[in-house]
């Protein structure tokens, strides 16, 4: 393999940081969810890269990636249902205006 492991790890770190920036800076709740998806993808790149470079004989890395997929699918389904429920009740998806607990 001509590509060193650290390249994949740096790529995943960059993707995770970009996703973190999206989560922290977006005002739209769906934008925040998209940032979370980017972060989960970065984690999955790490898992598969570690599988390929450190223990390719067992499939542990890929199986963990599958579990992350499952959790991501569940998370996005519940998250979007929440966003739509809030939109229906409060007519907004801007997170700064969703401050029910502050009032």
């Amino acid at each position: 393999m001509s590509i060193p492991l650290s390249w994949f790890l740096v790529l995943a770190a960059a993707l995770f940081s970009i996703g973190l920036y999206g989560v922290l800076s977006r005002r739209n709740a769906i934008g925040i969810l998209m940032g979370i998806e980017l972060m989960l993808n970065a984690v999955n790149i790490n898992l598969v890269a570690f599988w390929r470079y450190i223990d390719p004989v067992k499939m542990t890395g890929q199986i963990f990636a599958l579990f992350v997929f499952t959790v991501a699918a569940a998370e996005v389904a519940v998250g979007l249902a929440l966003v739509i429920a809030i939109y229906r009740n409060r007519d907004t998806v801007v997170v700064e205006e969703i401050d029910l607990l502050k009032e």
Binding site: S2, A13, Y21, R52, V93
Partner: protein
């Protein structure tokens, strides 16, 4: 030389798509760039010789999650008009924090001593994965199915339209 070029092209697509996702003013265009970033990540899996994970990435992330996000954006779109500010006041701190995190992670990756071994991928990786899923990892496997069921029920319960009586009572 060729794998390096391929890796560079894939990284460019993935990171470019990801940056467009978090900076684009139009949230719908962000969702389209999210699909591009997912395609890039799927190519990374192919490069890592994990074709099954790449297929799952395309199926679940592009086929389900991205489409679901686009649906949700279209259902709630009216409010995020073009002249509205997409990022909040703390975005500069968010950018600094993300850069700092990237610096720390990069430093760690550079300095860590990874026990890399040179070994070939198993001949039948999917068979092996299925066997491990139903032996070593059978408990998390079952818990994942319970989680999916709970998410299914929960999202229907949360997203469902309230009936007329409870709405007029509010």
């Amino acid at each position: 030389m060729v794998p390096v070029l391929v890796f560079a092209a894939i990284s460019l697509v993935t990171l470019g798509g990801a940056i467009a996702v978090v900076t684009n003013k139009n949230i719908l265009h962000s969702a389209y760039f999210l699909v591009l970033a997912f395609v890039g990540v799927a190519s990374v899996y192919v490069l890592l010789e994990a074709p099954f994970i790449a297929v799952i990435q395309v199926l679940i992330y592009i086929g389900a999650i991205a489409i679901l996000i686009i649906f949700a954006i279209m259902l709630t779109r009216r409010l995020m008009s073009k002249d509205m500010e997409e990022r909040n006041q703390q975005w500069i701190w968010a950018a600094l924090g993300a850069l700092l995190l990237f610096g720390v992670l990069g430093w760690l990756v550079y300095n860590a001593n990874w026990p890399v071994i040179e070994a070939a991928v198993p001949k039948e990786p999917i068979t092996l994965m299925g066997e491990e899923l139903l032996s070593t990892y059978v408990v998390p496997f079952e818990i994942a199915s319970v989680l999916l069921l709970a998410a299914l029920v929960g999202s229907i319960l949360i997203g469902r339209e309230k009936d007329q009586e409870s709405r007029s009572a509010e």
